[in-house]
């Protein structure tokens, strides 16, 4: 086994060159390059974590924004409904007022018309009296040859009509 046979003659060379080359590996790679690699990895990990946190924050902000928007929308809807209700109430009130004035005017017209009708009837009745008195005078003069004064005839007619 050369490892043992050559031990005495090669051990110093083996140890020396191992220390030289492992030293190079340790100081150049381990101490020189590795910290850069590690810091790159750490930096990347940190950046990813930061980005995730930022995304999470943005999501939370968006959620809050949406919530605020919903509240706002609900409020505005309620306001709109209140405006509509008020308008409806106003319209109903205006309609009532118009109806009231219209019915008052109609009532007035009807009352006036009834008054006119009553007057016309009274006038007509008066005329009927006159005609009846003249007719009674005429009948009495023709049948009995009596000449009855107009005032008497009129009184007689009135009495009959009143009893009528």
């Amino acid at each position: 086994m050369p490892q043992i046979e050559q031990l005495a003659t090669t051990y110093s060379s083996q140890v020396f060159w191992l220390l030289v080359f492992f030293g190079i590996v340790f100081f150049v790679i381990g101490r020189g390059m590795l910290p850069k690699v590690v810091s790159t990895m750490d930096g990347r990990d940190k950046q990813i974590a930061d980005d995730l946190a930022a995304a999470e924050a943005a999501r939370a902000a968006a959620d809050a924004e949406e919530e605020a928007w919903r509240v706002q929308a609900n409020k505005q809807r309620a306001e709109a409904q209140a405006v509509i209700a008020a308008a409806k109430a106003d319209a109903a009130k205006a309609t009532d007022a118009k109806l009231a004035t219209a019915s008052a005017r109609i009532d007035e017209t009807v009352t006036a018309a009834e008054a006119r009708i009553a007057a016309a009837r009274a006038a007509a009745l008066g005329e009927v009296e006159g005609v009846a008195a003249e007719a009674a005078q005429d009948i009495a003069s023709r049948l009995a040859g009596l000449s009855i004064p107009a005032a008497e005839a009129q009184a007689a007619v009135k009495g009959v009509l009143a009893n009528g």
Partner: protein, 260 residues
């Protein structure tokens, strides 16, 4: 006839390259060997791999994704075993995991097809042993620096009855002291066993094919099929052993960091 004489352990032989035999520091030989060469290749490949992925882009490409995946894997390992304090060990454990993983993988490359013989540095206990001792030394250093002599309470588990302490303490101490050996030997043995097995099977394939039609179908073909499966298994073992080494280092560091 080329007799298929395969020495299964020849692949672990260390050869000096580029005539550097005489290089030495303070009397110790430091020749640049094939083992050193493959450690250098491991270092360069790992360097290129990580450098290619250290682009610091916010949206990673494939390469950056691969490097970050590997880094994140080791980071999670530390987080899971040690907790928040594990971050500071990331450079060391990543270097350990990356170096062992790439050394294991590169040693499995079928480069012999183009005439180059890959060498698995982690199949030498000299190498794995140094890595294990390094991990163990860091555990001891951290433990004593953080807890002082209170670190010895690691060897007395919670709820141990007082009369049992004289017995438990040495047992725990021995199990603790064995850690660097088990850590280093585990990787070395796993790597060596796999490579020897592949070599032995390939020896069967060569000898069986040379010995005639009968042995070709009887020994060579089944061995070859088995080799394909074991190659896949070895790729898995290469990853698992690197993972186990890093994981156990994390577990031991956790003992030092948090006691228990």
């Amino acid at each position: 006839m080329a007799e298929g004489k395969v020495d299964p352990v020849h692949q672990f032989t260390i050869e000096t390259l580029f005539g550097t035999d005489h290089w030495s520091i303070g009397g110790y030989n430091i020749a640049f060997t094939n083992s050193s060469l493959w450690m250098a290749i491991t270092t360069v490949v790992l360097l290129v791999f990580v450098a290619g992925g250290a682009k610091r882009e916010l949206v990673p490409g494939r390469w950056q994704m691969a490097v970050e995946g590997l880094t994140g894997f080791v980071d999670n390992l530390l987080q899971a075993n040690i907790g928040k304090a594990g971050r500071k060990y990331l450079p060391y454990v990543f270097s350990l995991f990356g170096f062992i993983l790439f050394a294991n993988m590169l040693g499995l490359l079928p480069l012999a097809l183009v005439g180059v013989h890959p060498f698995t540095a982690t199949s030498h206990f000299t190498v794995t042993g140094v890595l294990a001792i390094m991990s163990f030394a860091i555990v001891l250093g951290v433990g004593f620096a953080k807890h002082g002599f209170h670190f010895f309470s690691l060897f007395v588990p919670h709820g141990t009855p007082v009369p049992m302490i004289p017995i438990i303490f040495p047992i725990e101490l021995i199990s603790f002291m064995v850690r660097p050996f088990s850590l280093g030997l585990r990787l070395f043995v796993a790597m060596m066993a796999g490579h020897v097995l592949l070599e032995v099977l390939s020896g069967f394939v060569i000898s069986g094919t040379n010995a005639g039609v009968g042995t070709f179908f009887l020994a060579a073909v089944p061995s070859f099929v088995l080799m394909i499966g074991i190659c896949a298994l070895e790729l898995l073992v290469a990853g698992i052993q690197a993972y186990v080494f890093a994981l156990l280092t994390c577990v031991y560091l956790n003992d030092a960091e948090n006691l228990h």
